[in-house]
Subunit: 343 residues, 2 copies
DNA sequence: CCGTGCCTTGCAAACGATTGCAGAAACTTG
DNA sequence: CAAGTTTCTGCAATCGTTTGCAAGGCACGG
């Protein structure tokens, strides 16, 4: 029993004008073209009849879908929901809908997601921590505006919003040094991702500057920013090295470290300190609460959405990269270095 | 430099047939109509030319968008991501894209979200823990199939997937009784939501059956399933009553109870036991780990998607309500009742 | 050899908007 | 008052599909 939708023609018939006139009235940009009196009548009856433009007809004609694709590794990772809400907060008022794609860190799934997006003719793309190289889109022959979030673009000119990873890592090292730690291990993120790479490089650099131990064996790389990998890496480190603290490249990896420490019968924050990165929701409620670097997730989303809008509206977008400042949050997972480095 | 998309006409021109023939070949249902040899040629060149159907033209003609709207309170609430992934796992292989709407528990925002969905001509709707009455859609004059998840429909015939709340609450009470608790408080959910209501009613019923205290003052209602409300409610309870355990209507409320206990200088799990509901991600890592009722979030999403597909395909869908069984998970937030009920 | 029916295929009309173009009416202006 | 200009509105094409209808070709039976 669907009551058929009201169309421009219906309104036109009612008012006694041509559909194109109705179209012009209903489009703010062209409304000025038509006689104000008639325009008022049209607008009124359109309203009265409950007119809703048919998005397909509109999109077919104008090739604008008002859909934005957002590609993330996994919505179940608490880092992403706030980013997404930030994106939606900005985009929704402009009439855009957001379609999500979870890739589970698989570059294959990234490919098909993007292909799906292009098929669906999204007007723009926001992609978080992607594995693919910058030019994945030109390969597809599509010129969809893209914004990276939490991933630095190699190509200059590709807009992205990132945090100052180096500053965050530096703050962590400084904090650990002030607590007396001298041998600090690093559970590094995937080096294919810009965040993983920069955090690792900064870690090495800052340790050197601070005069800390810089043995290569104090570092263990992971394949993915996931808890399981963190656990594996920390276990390996505990097996081969002595240290009093672990700097994990993000919170999820830190969570894995918690597990490894528990397995080893060590108390996190007393025997070994652990730090994370991101300050994702709920890490303040962990056992123990995690010392980490807070990054403004909401603003990252909003920034990405704004950069995208800039491109969509062809405003000579002034800025192309937004860098946000992180902030160290000290909680109970870090404490004074114990006298003797635990094995 | 967008290379213009390949259309049916392009292919037709290349092969030397009419576009409608190409259309028939590319549509599995009508492919049988056309000469197999020609069909093969067409399929091949379509493939070679990289044909991608224009979704707008298709939707305009057929009035199917292949978009499903999913309405939830807040994606940042860890209960929902697994549900959403479940939905997508089922829907995506059928070509459907999912558009999310966060309502922040505002019925006003629910209204506008639904209106947006209808405007966009979604093919179906899945809505989680909605405040609106069952018939919100008929008011809109739209006949979009709907499935409720985690919300019981009042109207019979409206498909929904829910968990057996009563069994969950019963298990909790049984557990608390076995630990020696006699005075148990309840932080009840909003009574406008079916889950809040059923859990509350079952709580009262089970307390009575088990011979526990049933003072009305042992119960405090909340306006929303949110941490802040849980904290407020638990604080109020602590101020006016004696009890040794709190049954919260869900995990978020339980989290609020944690806060209230900490404020009062009480140790959760020793002085006062706390239970939740849902077993959302990360509650096993809380301080202390939360005793709660596990519900299969992924399956809820999958079930909802399947029920929706049933409606979309007009299969005489056999079942209309899926009820999933919950399971008590005992962790450290519950312990033996202390000798003297804490005030 | 012709009528009947099936198998293919093309034609053209939708679906519901947007928009360049042209013409009619109204208004300036000298 | 004529010529030119502006303002408004309608016409019709277009976006890329799908699909009812009709017609051509061919085989077959009588």
């Amino acid at each position: 029993m669907t009551k058929p939708r009201v169309t421009l023609k219906d309104i036109a018939g009612r008012v006694g004008v041509h559909p194109s006139t109705v179209s012009r009235v209903l489009n703010p940009k062209t409304r000025g073209m038509v006689n104000p009196e008639i325009a008022a009548t049209i607008a009124e009856t359109a309203d009265k009849m409950g007119y809703r433009p048919n998005p397909f007809a509109y999109s077919l004609r104008t090739r604008r879908s008002f859909i934005i694709g957002v590609m993330i590794p996994d919505i179940a990772n608490p880092v992403f929901p706030p980013i997404i809400r930030g994106i939606e907060r900005i985009l929704e008022p402009h009439g855009y809908a957001v379609v999500l794609a979870n890739t589970d860190n698989s570059s294959e799934r990234e490919r098909v997601s993007i292909e799906r997006f292009v098929e669906r003719q999204v007007d723009g793309l926001i992609t978080a921590t992607s594995l693919l190289s910058d030019d994945f889109l030109v390969d597809l022959g599509a010129d969809v505006p893209v914004v990276f979030v939490n991933r630095r673009a190699e190509t200059p000119g590709v807009p992205s919003v990132v945090v100052n990873d180096a500053a965050g890592i530096a703050a962590i090292i400084e904090h650990l040094v002030s607590l007396g730690h001298r041998r600090v291990a690093h559970v590094a993120g995937p080096q294919l991702m810009s965040t993983g790479k920069i955090r690792y490089e900064t870690f090495v650099e800052e340790c050197r500057k601070a005069g800390l131990a810089t043995d290569a064996t104090l570092i263990e790389f992971t394949d993915a920013f996931m808890e399981g990998e963190g656990r594996r890496a920390a276990t390996a480190l505990l097996k081969r090295e002595k240290f009093t603290a672990i700097v994990a490249a993000n919170d999820l990896l830190a969570l894995g470290c918690y597990g490894a420490l528990a397995d080893a019968g060590l108390v996190c924050g007393r025997d070994v300190s652990v730090t994370g990165f991101n300050d994702m929701p709920f890490v303040d409620r962990l056992q123990p609460p995690l010392t980490t670097v807070h990054i403004p997730l909401n603003e990252m989303g909003e920034g990405a959405a704004r950069l995208l809008l800039d491109q969509l509206m062809e405003n000579g977008s002034s800025e192309t990269t937004i860098t946000l400042q992180p902030e160290l949050v000290v909680r109970a997972s870090t404490g004074p270095a114990p006298k003797v480095a635990k094995k």
